[in-house]
Amino acid sequence: MTDITNATVKTLHSSLKKREISAEELCTEYLELIEAMNPDLKALTDVIGEEALCAAKNAQLRLDKGEGGTLTGIPAIVNDNILTEGLVTSCGSKMLENFIPPYNAGAVERLEDAGYVLLGKACVDEFGLGGSPRSGIAVSSGFSPYSLSSDTGGSIRRASNFYGLTGLRPTYGRVSRYGLAAFAGSFDQIGPIARTAEDCAFVLNTIAVRDPRDATSFGNPDGSDFTEKIGTSIKGMKIAIPKEFFGDNISDETKNAVLKASKELEKQGAILIDSSLEIIEYTAEVFFIISSAEASSNLSRFDGVNFGLRGEGQTYFEQIVDSRNRGFGDEIKLRILFGNFVLSAQNYDDYFKKAKALRRKIKASYDEVLKTADAILAPSVSDSAHSQMFFADFCTVSSSLAGLPCVSTPCGYKATGLPIGMSLTGRRLGESTVLQIADCFERVFAPELFDVR
């Protein structure tokens, strides 16, 4: 029997193919594990056993006929801010406590077509704000080999970092945002959290499809196979190491782990380049301004009229005030207030307009470095207390601002035993390259060799 707690998509697919296990048996094993552990971990909102077994049965029928692909019959978890038809999708908000979407998100449709087996929805912070910790907990606890998650300012990479997993934020526009409850539309992207870079590539192969219902999506215009470069040599690849990501904001433990990893990559043939990304010191502020502005507008639809919680009041105004007061949590209220502040006629030029201009500069400075480098290496998250400005992490938000693909993969452990992650940001549409480098490192990464204690 397969040890599911550490299984990858690749190994499970091979077991299914060799008929060592059936999709239903696999599903049952996962469900048993989830039922045993979820009450304590509370990683999933709900377990959908019956539907999952039915999906597994159908997947097995396809496998029996020699049909289906890598994801057929493989269990998965989807974040609760990604819409699933007929299944409560609360987005972690009281506003949508009982919201049952009448349609699937575009990415969910793609997985469904591929014959995936949905086991449950991972709890999210309200509207995906902050991180996808539960999604990370679920995968690292063995609830499923991967999860479909979302990343606005770093959720996928933070979860991957903290739970020793590999997660990919794709290029903005790679994956349809249709059916992802919007927080900040110019940042939001859907991507996988998995155990390996290769598994991320399998999932991306399935979900990177242009969707006419999302005008910003372009899918996979080159028809890339993201697994193609997995396992191939990184000899001659140029990896930039911007000094700004190795300053006071980062603990020595983390710095050492990431730099040690860079030496390993050098040993594998990569060429390390010392570089600089000058204006990234402003990224947290820029992200906070633009994302709050967009969120304040996106979340305005929750006024208690059409759906969601309806408050009380004699007039429309009283009613929306009460609805929104009761329906939103404090963190969301803060973002809405700040977003409205930066968009007001009086403050627009001083905040929003400046932030947009800086965003263009940040993007340009990334593009400049990536003209010569194939990827940029940095710690996945900043880990000293004073670096967490405005609830935004400058390590993760900078690639979100630039709209570039970014993969986070484990590269060591702290004295406390917590994992350390490193991130690789690539060129626009450069997922294959960053996954290739992450994969190369995963193959040589043996935790004991990287113990920096």
């Binding site: 502005a293 639809r301 006024d303 968009l343």
Partner: protein, 474 residues
């Protein structure tokens, strides 16, 4: 002190697209409440707006017929405000880069022609409709109109009288109708108008402006402007303060009432919509759109009065209504005799329309049916005197002209034997007139011809009867 009114207009025109501007719901007017909406125009989480290319095409057409510059790159902005008829709580509009700028329209007034500048035209979506009169306790929302495509045409402050304002609206309305951009039905709200008006002494800077919202007939525009001129003049003359205000016009008493003042004005927190990519237009696309613009009223007038030889007043009647003008042109495709077709339309067809027997928008027969009917009358296939009766059969029995002629026996048959025997009889029965004619009194020919025609109704063309009679009388 002579006070000069200065007026600027904002015309909202609903686009004649099949679907809404950012989703694929039907854009037809009316319908059972909330039957024409989807998760998109109801603002369900996770839905995203996708621009309807047809709507983009129509605003470009509008820019072209209203002589505007067309932007090659256009972006979209969100106008944020809470109202129960606006499901997303923001309206997608264009503040920073509208599709069209710097246009103009020439209007005719009693003072002659005037050029009215158009500041910009932008594309936006309409809101839903609230129904307040069902209960004192609650209001109902109908989102069928939510997300319908609108263009907003903003003029420069170039208008100075109610007459000019009305002439401008009429002119723009007709151009939008002719270019198939908007159906112009003001009573259905497909075309609505906001009026900005202020008064100031000649040569002085502009006065304090009032904006009168949502006028939905040319008559209301005229009355609202007249009332505002009266109200503001009185205030200035009595040294009473005027406030920058949004006002509404009451059709019942012809007065305007304050809705909100500038201090209470909304801060719409406009910002670029991250969900909709910029619309980038290439020259080839623009050229194709320009080429698809139908003939505009001026061009038709020149053609009708020139090439077709129709009088100016008749041409104006035809062009005054696009459906009528199109009907006329389509009838010409069947029978290329503009004067004859025009005469029949202006007399017989319009008489039926005025009697309420025919709706022009939904006529019981096609333009080509009418064209063929006129052709038969003017080419002696039927008697012209019978055309009226045949038209009646086409209306009442929904017949084609051919069916109506078959059933009523209206076809002229050219039975020469019958003609000869009838004429022989006419000559025999009228010895005196025949003798007079033979003695050179030409005018009695008409009498003899009439006698023969009466007998021969439908059996032969007048030309055939005339020829036979002449030869027999020799």
């Amino acid at each position: 002190m002579k006070l000069i009114p200065t007026i600027g207009l904002e015309i909202h025109a609903e686009l004649m697209t099949n679907s809404k501007v950012f989703c694929s719901c039907s854009a037809e007017y009316g319908g059972t409440p909330n039957s024409r909406c989807c998760p998109g125009c109801s603002a369900f989480p996770g839905t995203l707006p996708v621009l309807n290319r047809k709507a983009a095409e129509l605003i470009i057409k509008a820019g072209a017929v209203l002589n505007c510059e067309i932007s090659r790159t256009t972006t979209w902005d969100r106008k944020n405000y809470f109202y129960p008829d606006l499901p997303r709580a923001y309206q997608i509009s264009q503040l920073y880069s509208p599709v069209c700028r710097n246009g103009h329209v020439i209007i005719k007034t009693s003072d002659g022609e005037k050029r009215i500048g158009i500041k910009q035209i932008h594309l936006e979506e309409d809101a839903g409709k609230l129904i307040h009169d069902r209960s004192p306790k609650y209001s109902l929302a109908d989102y069928n109109r939510s997300g319908m495509g609108l263009i907003e045409i903003v003029t420069d402050p170039d208008l100075h009288t109610a007459e000019e304002a009305c002439a401008f609206v009429e002119k723009v309305r007709s151009m939008l109708q002719y270019a198939d951009i908007c159906n112009g039905k003001m009573e259905q709200g497909s075309l609505r108008c906001d009026v900005n008006i202020s008064l100031a002494p000649e040569g002085a800077p502009l006065g304090v402006r009032a904006e009168i919202k949502n006028l939905n007939s040319v008559r209301s525009i005229s009355r609202a402007v007249e009332y505002e001129i009266y109200r503001q003049t009185r205030a200035i003359e009595n040294n009473e303060p005027l406030f920058q205000q949004t006002r509404r016009f009451s059709d019942t008493d012809g007065e305007t009432y304050a809705m909100r003042t500038k201090e209470n004005a909304h801060d719409y927190r406009y910002f670029p919509d991250p969900d909709i990519p910029a619309l980038v237009l290439r020259d080839a696309e623009l050229d194709a759109i320009f080429a698809s613009i139908p003939k505009m009223p001026e061009e038709r007038f020149t053609q009708y009065t020139g090439e077709y030889g129709i009088t100016a007043s008749d041409a104006e009647i035809l062009i005054g209504n696009k459906i009528l003008s199109d009907f006329f042109e389509n009838a010409l495709k069947e029978y290329d005799n503009p004067k004859a077709v025009c005469a029949f339309i202006l007399t017989e067809l319009l008489r039926r329309v005025n009697l309420g027997e025919i709706e022009l928008e939904n006529p019981p027969f096609s333009a080509s049916d009418l064209g063929r009917l006129v052709k038969y009358g003017y080419t002696d296939k039927i008697s012209r005197g019978d055309m009226k009766e045949i038209l009646r059969a086409m209306i009442e029995k929904r017949k084609t002209p051919e069916e109506a002629c078959d059933e009523g026996g209206f076809w002229i048959k050219e039975d020469l034997k019958l003609v000869e025997s009838v004429i022989d009889k006419v000559i025999e029965n009228n010895p005196n007139p025949v003798a007079q004619y033979r003695n050179g009194e030409q005018k009695v020919f008409g009498f003899l011809m009439g006698q023969a025609s009466k007998e021969l109704k439908g059996a032969a063309t007048p030309a055939a009867i005339k020829q036979m009679l002449e030869s027999k009388l020799k």
